[in-house]
Amino acid sequence: MAGVYVHIPFCKQKCHYCNFYSVVSVKYREPFLKALLFEIGQRKSYLNREKINTIYFGGGTPSLLGFEELISIIEKIKNSFHVDTAVEITLEANPDDLNANKLKRLKNETSVNRLSIGIQSFFDDDLHYLNRVHDAHQAYHSIELAKKQGFNNLTIDLIYGIPGLIRKKWIKNLEIFFSFNLPHLSSYSLTVEPKTALLTFIRQGKMENIDENKSIEHFKILMEKTTENGYIHYEISNFAKKGYYSKHNSLYWLGGHYIGFGPSAHSYNGVSRQWNVPNMKQYIEAEKTKKIIFDKEVLSKNQQYNEYVMTSLRTIWGCDPEHIQNVFGKFYEEYFSKIIFPFIEDEKVYRQGNHYFLTNKGKLFADGIASELFMDDE
């Protein structure tokens, strides 16, 4: 099982909190597509003919792609890789890009079978704070239309911890989500990332800073309400009905292999991770130079162990000491079991069967716990 990620680095406008690579200018649309198709063809042996069970269009804003563009990319992937017939193809979409006609064509003309709609909030003031293009009405409407066109495998994003998002509004957002009866939700705490407009505005005092206590309260509400409504909290920020876990993201958390196309996209083959240059101009050069510019790291044993601990603890599958012993050796397993112990005492971690999991309290401290469990390189 392996995955393909395609980064579509175009946006109508930039959301203030976002630190993913994208450009607003449309003049690179054509050369980008050429370079992308070139890259897909050039790197076709990266995954060693592993079977692809998920293709994911992320961004940026993949819903800005035209049908022909989208189809040509999927075709190129199918021709270059060993793609499973039951492949899950996800397209991230912004509500403002989704109208009835577009959804209909998406359903009928392409093999996209899962939509991830960037709702973020059902309230205009929050959307304004985040500098999203769409409004609350478009948010509702896009979900209704997608369902109507037969997209059953639907997920939306909701952001909590936004300064204007009072408790009541957050609960309302969740209730609206539940009312659509969608099988999946990704919900993130707003974080102020470096080099974002949001950070600048907060520093300048033009925007209100986020409040940690509020994020914690929202997260607790989120866990409580999703459980009540039959969703499984299968990763820190992801909730799904049984059978609807995101295949693509699960791959990341379970150490699966993936190849990423487009500027800034990451690839991992079990031994090394590499990422394309996050620069459109340099990326499109590839079409002429026949060379994709990327950075690469070969993971040491310690780093592989660190990543396993860091990702597995975030998930419903938990961290398996037996796996640690088999893959990394007895020394790692003993180290892990020793360090994790105080967290169990502290009720941040619990053990069930042979696996370790974060408690709801522990989910707030996933990073610190992982960091403690890390193996130092020297």
Binding site: T191, Y252, G260, T311, D346, F365, D367, G368
Partner: protein, 599 residues
């Protein structure tokens, strides 16, 4: 050997950057003692650090030959350290001379420290030759500065030599004045040997090389000699004079300046100010003015990596070989582990040691907040010297505590006088005198506790005077003071490395500032951290570092994994470098908190 009447022993008195070293270079060049090629900038300062800081830390001496009006003269230039911390060493260098060049920067005028050294020279009856240096600069103000010099010395305007170390202007005139005005040495060649040690250096092949000036008698190679104050006896394996290199001689006589090598390994055995005489037929008494210099400022030095303790010890031992004024003893701190309590002559000395540990030995150290040496008088009237706040006896055994006092001289422009006096009063100073040197320059004399200048006095003085204040001090003695020990507690546990002894009037303000600053420096942890300042059982200030309530970041997809792993790896490394106090992780920089209170 030169007849005594043709010997001139002199030194140079100057403020730090008034061009002493450059002028000295010109003298050496002009007399042909060194060729221009030999002359790496500033021959007399041969420690790398000295050259960079532009200050002469340790004194040296050099001999020049100079023919004048048909006669051959020997001129011994004895260099003097330029900082207040080394005032005792300066006094011994001065005691070895008959004359002094008073070098004043024509662009800046006389500075406080120059004055105190000048008075030292005058007390020792030295002939003073005033030199106005840096005359080549456009902003030289010869008339004003000459007025200052004439006011101070009562000399004639014509006695002041205008010079430039940079261009060599005036150098010949200076040499002429040295020969004509500085008296030749007096003394009795046939009397028992009496020589003053004014400096010593460590040489890794030869051991300690002591520099001396003979006041009476003669010394020959192979003589059995005795150092009067230490009582130790040695054989004079090698004696000689100091040219660009050491030049061995078989005999040195009254008036000469030279060196002695006698197989001494430790710098402690050679004390500046000691008297050298013969074992057989010794002199009646030692040369006056000897003092066993005691360190006045103390601080703990700890290796950042606790495994480097032994390495630090061996570095300290090596440092002490050529710096006898550095003292240290092992010490341990609950917070910092094993290290050393070190004694320094002053703050600059402390800074120099820290830098030398870093540069010459590649040691990374934590230096705890400095404190002065206190005298605790117990109920039973015993006197205990306390060099470390944690060494203070319990309150109930203490009758009173005494702290060292200094007489400070500050010279500044009249416009800064108000704020400087206020600073001194804030630092518990008592204004003793205020003299107008010229219409625009004032000298003030203040009695104040040494403990008040070890924290941030220099920096404050510099900033309120915009750099136009010079400062000099000497220790006058001990006075009783209302001192208390201020402890810092983290979650109820006292951090020994952060305890301070200070005057009770300052305790509240200081304690509050410490808590606020520590709150900035201690990272949030899994629990609340109470930072408290306490006097005994009484809490006088408190701050809280709130517990981390969440640290999870929402997203962890393909592109986030590397970034996030690296971030967490870095976090873990940072944590490893912290010291644990109880259950609280404290970063190293927190231990230097006191030095950053005003940041």
């Amino acid at each position: 050997m030169q007849a005594m009447k043709n010997i001139r022993n002199f030194c140079i008195i100057a403020h730090i950057d008034h061009g002493k070293s450059t002028l000295a270079d010109r003298l050496l060049e002009f007399t042909g003692t060194v060729s221009e090629r030999d002359l790496k900038e500033q021959v007399l300062d041969d420690m790398e650090l000295e050259r960079e800081k532009g200050i002469t830390i340790k004194s040296h001496a050099i001999q020049m030959d100079y023919p004048f009006e048909g006669e051959q003269y020997v001129l011994n230039l004895i260099d003097t350290p330029g900082h207040v911390d080394f005032s005792y060493e300066v006094s011994r260098s001065i005691a070895a001379c008959e004359g002094a060049l008073l070098v004043v920067d024509a662009t800046q005028g006389i500075q406080a420290q120059t004055i105190s050294n000048l008075y030292l020279a005058i007390e020792h009856d030295l002939e003073i030759i005033p030199v106005l240096n840096k005359m080549d600069l456009d902003n030289a103000m010869p008339d004003e500065v000459k007025d200052q010099i004439v006011d101070m010395l009562g000399c004639d305007y014509e006695d002041i030599i205008e010079a430039s170390g940079k261009t060599g202007y005036g150098v010949e005139q200076i040499l002429e004045a040295v020969i004509k005005k500085v008296p030749s040495p007096k003394g009795d060649t046939n009397a028992p040997l009496q020589a003053l040690i004014f400096d010593s250096v460590f040489n890794s092949f030869r051991g300690i090389i002591a520099y001396f000036r003979i006041f009476n008698g003669e010394i020959r190679k192979g003589d059995q000699v005795k150092f009067v104050n230490t009582g130790k006896e040695y054989e004079a394996n090698e004696i000689g004079v100091l040219r660009l290199d050491r030049e061995p001689r078989s005999v040195l006589s009254t008036g000469d300046v030279g060196y002695i090598i006698s197989g001494i390994k430790a710098s402690k055995e050679v004390k500046v100010g000691d008297t050298v005489t013969h074992v057989e037929n010794p002199c009646d008494k030692a040369i006056e003015g000897f003092e066993d210099v005691k360190p006045m400022v103390f601080a703990g030095i700890y290796p950042i990596d606790p495994d480097e303790y032994e390495e630090l010890r061996s570095s300290m031992e090596k440092l002490q070989l050529n710096d006898a004024s550095l003292t240290w003893e092992p010490e341990s701190s609950a917070a910092l582990g094993f290290g050393f309590r070190c004694g320094f002559l002053g703050l600059l000395h402390m800074e120099i040691i820290q830098e030398r540990l870093d540069r010459e030995f590649n040691m990374n150290v934590i230096t705890t907040m400095p404190n002065v040496s206190y005298r605790v008088v117990t109920n039973k009237k015993e006197i205990i010297e306390v060099h470390n706040p944690s060494g203070l006896p319990e309150q109930k055994y203490i009758d009173h505590i005494e702290e060292p006092f200094i007489k400070a001289q500050i010279i500044t422009r009249t416009e800064y006088i108000g704020s400087i006096i206020k600073l001194c009063l804030d630092k518990r100073g008592e204004l003793k005198n205020q003299v107008y040197l010229t219409t625009s320059r004032v000298e003030i004399t203040v009695d104040m506790p040494l403990g008040e200048i070890v924290f941030d006095f220099y920096d404050k003085l510099k900033s309120i005077s915009k750099g136009y204040a010079s400062f000099d001090y000497h220790i006058t003695g001990y006075k009783p003071a209302k001192l208390i020990k201020l402890d810092i507690l983290l979650n109820g546990e006292s951090v020994d490395a952060l305890s301070t002894l200070l005057h009770q009037d300052n305790a509240y303000d200081f304690g509050r500032k410490m808590c606020v600053k520590l709150k900035e420096l201690i990272p949030r942890q899994q629990f609340d951290i109470a930072i408290q300042a306490a006097i005994g059982a009484k809490i006088i200030a408190r701050e809280t570092v709130k517990a981390v309530r969440k640290d999870v970041t929402a997203k962890c997809y393909g592109g986030d994994i590397t970034r996030k792993r690296k971030l967490l790896e870095k976090q873990k490394k940072g944590k490893k470098r912290m010291r644990k106090v109880g259950n609280v992780e404290v970063p190293q920089k927190a231990f230097l908190v006191v030095l950053r209170l005003n940041d």
